[in-house]
């Protein structure tokens, strides 16, 4: 559970979809990641603007590499997008609990920018010989990314809200219309999607939540949410992954 603060060097920036970028970071800090689903918290620059760090999920990692995917939604991500190869970022690494890899047929369910952390998890599941199916939900055709990467693990089904690709509707529409079966599911995406999944599938699910964070390492209590098993869990320390049977829907 050690945390690390230090510099990581940007070695690659790719535009994956509309306003969506993949960034590869190199450095010793990558060693501090122990599980898929953990996150890093990035100081965007040395100035006081933006003031807070930006928490980012990790799509893939090894001993020396961290890959993140982000969408440009405001000041912080706009600056991040315009960084140059070779620039260094001050990162807090090794944050959060991460997914627990389980035996038994797996369904990965990604919603938009919630898709990335499931990629490294898929690799781990595949390595353990687990059968993997993936459902990804996006707004529209222009938003889709990582479809091919998930095909490395097995079948991939797409939902778009406007019907431009795949099934029109949500990830839940896909699961129900195609009668997809699974023993465990792993998901990350917008809160309404996670709530709907916890409501429809209250067992054997691991759901990765996001929250506005002050610190990312348990000090400020800015991201605490109520759960059934405890008075509260901090999304940054006891999360971001919560179990489907402890999630309080709309909580």
């Amino acid at each position: 559970m050690a945390n690390f603060q230090g510099l990581m060097e940007i070695t690659k920036i790719d535009n994956l979809a509309d306003d969506v970028y993949e960034m590869t970071l190199k450095g010793d800090g990558a060693k501090y990641i122990s599980q898929s689903g953990q996150f890093i918290n990035i100081k965007i620059n040395d100035s006081l603007q933006p003031y807070l760090r930006r928490p980012m999920s990790i799509s893939d990692y090894d001993e020396n590499t961290i890959v993140i995917v982000f969408k440009v939604v405001g000041l912080g991500t706009e600056i991040l997008k315009n960084k140059a190869i070779g620039d260094k970022l001050d990162c807090l690494i090794g944050l959060g609990n991460g997914f627990t890899v389980k035996k038994g047929k797996a369904l990965l369910i990604g919603g938009g920018l919630g898709t990335p952390p499931l990629y490294n998890l898929g690799k781990k599941l595949k390595a353990q010989g687990v059968e993997v199916t993936t459902v990804l939900g996006f707004g529209s055709k222009k938003d889709i990314f990582y479809e091919d990467k998930f095909k490395e693990f097995g079948d991939v089904y797409i939902a778009t809200m406007d019907g431009s690709v795949g099934i029109k509707g949500t990830v839940i529409d896909v699961i129900q219309q195609l009668n997809l079966t699974f023993e465990n599911y792993y998901t990350c995406g917008p809160e309404p999607m996670l709530d709907a999944l916890a409501l429809n599938y209250p067992e054997n699910g691991q759901l990765s939540f996001e929250a506005r964070m002050g610190c990312g390492f348990g000090a400020c209590m800015g991201c605490s949410c109520k759960v059934k098993t405890k008075p509260y869990k901090r999304i940054c320390v006891e999360g971001p992954i919560l179990l489907s049977d402890e999630v309080i829907v709309n909580g």
């Binding site: 559970m1 506005r212 610190c215």
Partner: protein, 305 residues
């Protein structure tokens, strides 16, 4: 190397640097990063008589050189703080800590103070009469001098340790508040708490923070804190612990020149978990550069002339 030791009621500190309440949890989270025994003291997360979940999310927003928060005094309650949180901290910190207490009614403060002031690790209490983020309790004591004096007096009657009162900047005359709590028996003052602010979502027109308003802190409020610490420390004879936007060693020096006898570091701990450690090292270097032998010599330097 300058002398950094400072002595305040209930606290003999190896240096004047204290992490501020609410930005350091109960201390032990930071042992992942450094040995927290280097700190002067620790202001614990605000503690109430009963456990509190706090406000709905989102609780955090950002502004120029600062952040808004509306945590709402989330804490496990005084008994769990004494029996669990402080025990987790014990192996990591050997000096006295400052217990920050909040409440909705005078009786809550009194009972919480009575219990936690008996704890052997607690050197002093910090009475939070200035939390802007709870609807019932806290702030009304911090904006009315009579009520502030009353809660101070009643807590002093039961507390086994010196009592510092944490003042709100959200008042017309902070000197009047300071004088009222001094007269009621406060052993010290800590200031300033956060400034009440808001941010709005451009698309929905609604506040970003679920609570509507939050407390603004960070480097943006540093000049406001300096002004208020200067005014209050001139007007009272009890020590002031100065806080509000301190982010480096030079800021500590400036806050002490303004009149603070010690300082607290808030927001900066959230951006940089090593902040207090860096600031202590930085403070040493800066004092040497200035040729200052004893940090106590600069306290209230701005009051001269």
């Amino acid at each position: 190397m300058a002398n950094l030791k400072v002595k305040l009621p209930g606290l003999e500190m190896k240096n004047p640097v204290i992490p501020a309440s609410g930005t350091f949890g109960f201390g032990y989270e930071f042992t992942k990063f450094y040995d927290i025994n280097i700190l002067g003291s620790i202001m614990l997360k605000g503690t109430t008589l009963e456990p509190r979940y706090g406000n709905p999310l989102p609780r955090i927003a950002e502004g120029p050189s600062g952040m808004l928060n509306a945590i709402g005094l989330q804490n496990p309650g005084v008994d769990a703080v004494m029996n669990e949180e402080l025990e987790k901290l014990r192996p990591h910190f050997s000096d006295k800590v400052i217990a920050n207490i909040g409440g909705s009614a005078v009786e809550d403060y009194v009972e919480t103070a009575k219990r936690i002031s008996s704890h052997d690790m607690v050197g002093a209490l910090e009475l939070n009469i200035s939390c802007p983020n709870v609807h019932s309790g806290g702030i009304q004591f911090g904006t009315n001098p009579q009520m502030a004096a009353e809660v101070t007096r009643k807590v002093k009657e039961v507390s086994q340790k010196p009592v510092y009162v944490k003042l709100s900047p959200n008042v017309t005359d902070i000197v009047e508040m300071a004088k009222a709590v001094e007269e009621a028996g406060a052993d010290g003052i800590s200031m300033i708490n956060t400034l009440v602010g808001m941010r709005f979502n451009l698309k929905t027109g609604k506040p970003i923070i679920a609570n509507g308003t939050g407390g603004y802190s960070g480097p943006a409020i540093f000049p406001v804190a300096l002004r208020m610490v200067h005014q209050v420390s001139k007007a009272v004879s009890i020590p002031v612990i100065g806080m509000g936007g301190i982010s480096c060693g030079k800021d500590v020096i400036e806050m002490m020149i303004a009149g603070a006898s010690a300082v607290a570091i808030g927001c900066q701990n959230l951006i940089d978990p090593y902040a207090c450690k860096t600031i202590i090292e930085d403070l040493n270097t800066e004092l040497d550069k200035m040729g200052i032998k004893d940090i106590n010599d600069i306290v209230g330097l701005s009051h001269q002339s």
